[in-house]
Amino acid sequence: MSALMQVLPYLIAAYVFLTGCYGLATSRNLIHAVGCLSVCQVSTYILLLAVGYRSGGTAPVFSDIKPGTRPLVDPVVQALTLTDIVVGATVTALLLALVLQIVKRHGTLDPDELRELRG
């Protein structure tokens, strides 16, 4: 159990990344593809937070505990993940805006049917 727990969170992050990529590559609907891209990004959250976790630790937020009384997890990765989440939301919004325009101009959501930009 514990030997597995040593690597499982990282492996799950890798698995989620690859799953997202699979969905992205085989998607038949551009909105679905944007959703898959956000799944890919979820893997980076998991990886970063797993890296910063410490067994028995607690969040370094001292509004309700005294400093120095309990072991702490890494605050830096949490700050990084926060930035990452903002990035994810904005990229999703921007790509969805582009998808809406694609539907207007091409009349389809299926990437297989987009027949411009070849060769």
């Binding site: 590559a25 830096v76 930035t83 990035v87 990229v91 101009r105």
Partner: protein
């Protein structure tokens, strides 16, 4: 002085925010003037800082100067290459803004300031990326630069191609960025640091005498995947022609002139600071990986470039070919190679931006960027034609252009059979440009017949101005002329090459010095490329019928399918390839 470094990011962002805030009230000329002024101020600041960058300076954002070698702040690097890139970015943005003066027909209603504001954010983001000495900070600015670039690429929402190209660009680049972030996470897990130099030291300490392990390899592959996607290296390159062919011309100037090159710069910076130590990736493996991918990129880019008829797309493929050449020069890991790449990037930025500017003039005058359709129609645009042809020759590396100097120094650095790649790639891409010049501006040769090949034509494009222009405005010819003059100056001003070489080597090669000046060898090779380019163009134009692309080209062209899913699959395959190329050193270590 070093406190001013972050201002290279802050000033354009402030300008953009003010433009966006006042955007509803501001008349259009005022908005564009503000954009130009802010951009020019940043460029001036970058120049001043560049002149004071020897010895290199470091700034800690937030004033978190290290205590006992440890800091919690973000490192901002002000050395020759970083400030040089920032200056290049600023000057090129300035020329793009000048080019787009009164250019777009219809700014979004009530948002006159949005185009200059986006351009300023783009400038700030690229400066921030160039100055980043902290890996996560580099990721943030990488992402900022990408986000703005997606929006700018899709700016012309009425165009079917534009929105498709922007989406492809967005998906592939975002995925690359996430791969890079995963790599950063792995490095943080190993070393517990984010500053590039500290990660490098941390890797060396962690490795001890054992050399790199699988984690270092994975981190290397993932971080480089992100950067190489930006640098449009084969097989991560597919998004580039799709995006560059459809973006508004001033944006193309920036994308092709400097954003793609920032990917190469990122590779140089990250390898040199993070992975160059004994705990990183051995030099031989990096050379193998970069030279292989670089040659592949140069060849693919050149071949695809030759068989394009959409002029902007042709130029985009030529950017790919040249990026491959830069990567090869960086990949040989010698001070001379770095110098060559730096000079080549500088010269190429001026030339390529000028060529795009000329293509934009064609688009706005005739509503087409198709080589076949425009055959002989642009005779009246003498100035643009001359500039386009001169740009083509400069692209071939004709002495004394800056591109020629960069190419000559790079060729000297890589030596041996790789020189052939340099000569051929630059000759073929330049030949394609000259062929277009001859057909479009002079009407030479018989009009090519249309084939129903698998290709993107450039006809029936909507001009970017309100209606077709009756004559090309002066800004649209002055800007490319100035850019070409700058490229010429880089090769002719005595001592410029040495100056660049000195500042690059001071930052990167640990004191090793190389000089970068014209040699007989280099001049001859430059002349050979230019002659070859002219010969190729002449042969293409004078052939009585247009030879359709040979059969072996068809699969290569089919790969460029415009399909997001294909590009994602290629991205995964590319990172696997990168891992395989770098694997021997890890196994041996």
């Amino acid at each position: 002085m070093h406190h001013l470094l972050p201002l290279l990011v802050a000033v354009p962002l402030l300008g953009a925010a003010l433009l966006a805030a006042a955007g509803r009230r501001l008349p259009r000329p005022a908005a564009e003037l503000t954009g130009l002024l802010v951009c020019a101020a940043t460029a001036a600041l970058a120049l001043v800082l560049l002149l004071n960058s020897s010895p290199p300076v470091v700034e800690w954002a937030g004033g978190w100067v290290p205590v006992g070698g440890e800091s919690v702040g973000i490192e901002v690097i002000g050395d020759g290459p970083s400030l040089g890139m920032a200056t290049l970015v600023s000057l090129l943005t300035l020329s793009a803004l000048a080019y787009s003066w009164r250019y777009f027909d219809e700014p979004p209603r009530g948002h006159a300031g949005s185009f200059p504001a986006l351009m300023l954010v783009f400038q700030g983001a690229m400066c921030g990326f160039a100055l980043a000495g902290d890996l996560f900070n580099a990721f943030v600015f990488f992402e900022l630069m990408s986000v703005v670039a997606y929006a700018l690429t899709g700016f012309r929402i009425d165009e079917a191609k534009a929105v498709q190209g922007a989406l492809t660009f967005g998906v592939v680049n975002s995925l690359g960025a996430y791969a890079m972030l995963t790599g950063i996470g792995l490095l943080y897990a190993r070393t517990g640091e984010l500053s590039m130099s500290k990660i490098g030291r941390g890797l060396d300490t962690a490795a001890g005498h054992g050399g790199p392990d699988a984690l270092v390899l994975a981190a290397f592959v993932l971080v480089l995947t992100g950067l190489l996607v930006k640098a449009a290296t084969v097989p991560f390159h597919f998004w580039l022609p799709d995006a560059h062919a459809v973006a508004p011309t001033p944006v193309c100037m920036l994308l092709s002139g400097v954003m793609v090159e920032l990917g190469v710069y990122g590779v140089w910076r990250v390898y040199g600071t993070v992975f160059a130590g004994p705990g990183g990736i051995p030099a031989a493996d990096l050379t193998r990986a970069l030279v292989t991918l670089g040659v592949l990129t140069a060849v693919t880019g050149a071949v695809m470039c030759w068989y394009q008829r959409h002029i902007k797309r042709l130029l985009a493929f030529s950017t790919i070919a040249h990026t491959g050449l830069f990567l090869v020069a960086v990949g040989v890991l010698t001070p001379e190679g770095d110098d060559g790449a730096a000079l080549y990037i500088l010269g190429h930025a001026g030339v390529k931006a000028a060529l795009f500017a000329c293509a934009g003039a064609l688009l706005d005058r005739f509503g087409s960027v198709d080589e076949h359709e425009l055959h002989g129609r642009a005779r009246e645009l003498r100035a643009t034609g001359v500039l386009f042809a001169v740009g083509g020759l400069a692209l071939a590396g004709l002495p004394p252009f800056g591109t020629g100097l960069g190419k000559a120094v790079s060729e000297e650095a890589v030596g041996g059979p790789l020189t052939v790649v340099y000569v051929l790639a630059s000759a073929v891409t330049a030949g394609a440009v000259l062929r277009v010049a001859a057909r479009v501006f002079l009407g030479l040769g018989p009009p090519p017949e249309d084939t129903d090949a698998y290709e993107t034509s450039g006809s029936a494009e909507r001009p970017e101005t309100s209606g077709l222009l009756r004559r090309v405005p002066d800004t649209m010819t002055t800007v490319p002329a100035v850019l070409l003059a700058a490229a010429l100056a880089m090769g002719t001003v005595p001592g410029f090459g040495d100056l660049v070489a000195r500042s690059v080597n001071e930052a990167g090669s640990g004191g090793a010095r190389a000089s970068a000046a014209w040699t007989l060898h280099g001049v001859l090779l430059g002349l050979v490329s230019a002659a070859l380019a002219v010969a190729l163009a002449t042969a293409a134009v004078t052939r009585s019928h247009r030879p359709s692309a040979p059969a072996w080209m068809t699969p290569l062209r089919r790969l460029q399918s415009g399909h997001v899913g294909d590009y994602v699959a290629w991205l995964l395959l590319g990172s696997t390839l990168l891992a395989a190329l770098a694997l021997p050193g890890v196994l041996g270590g």
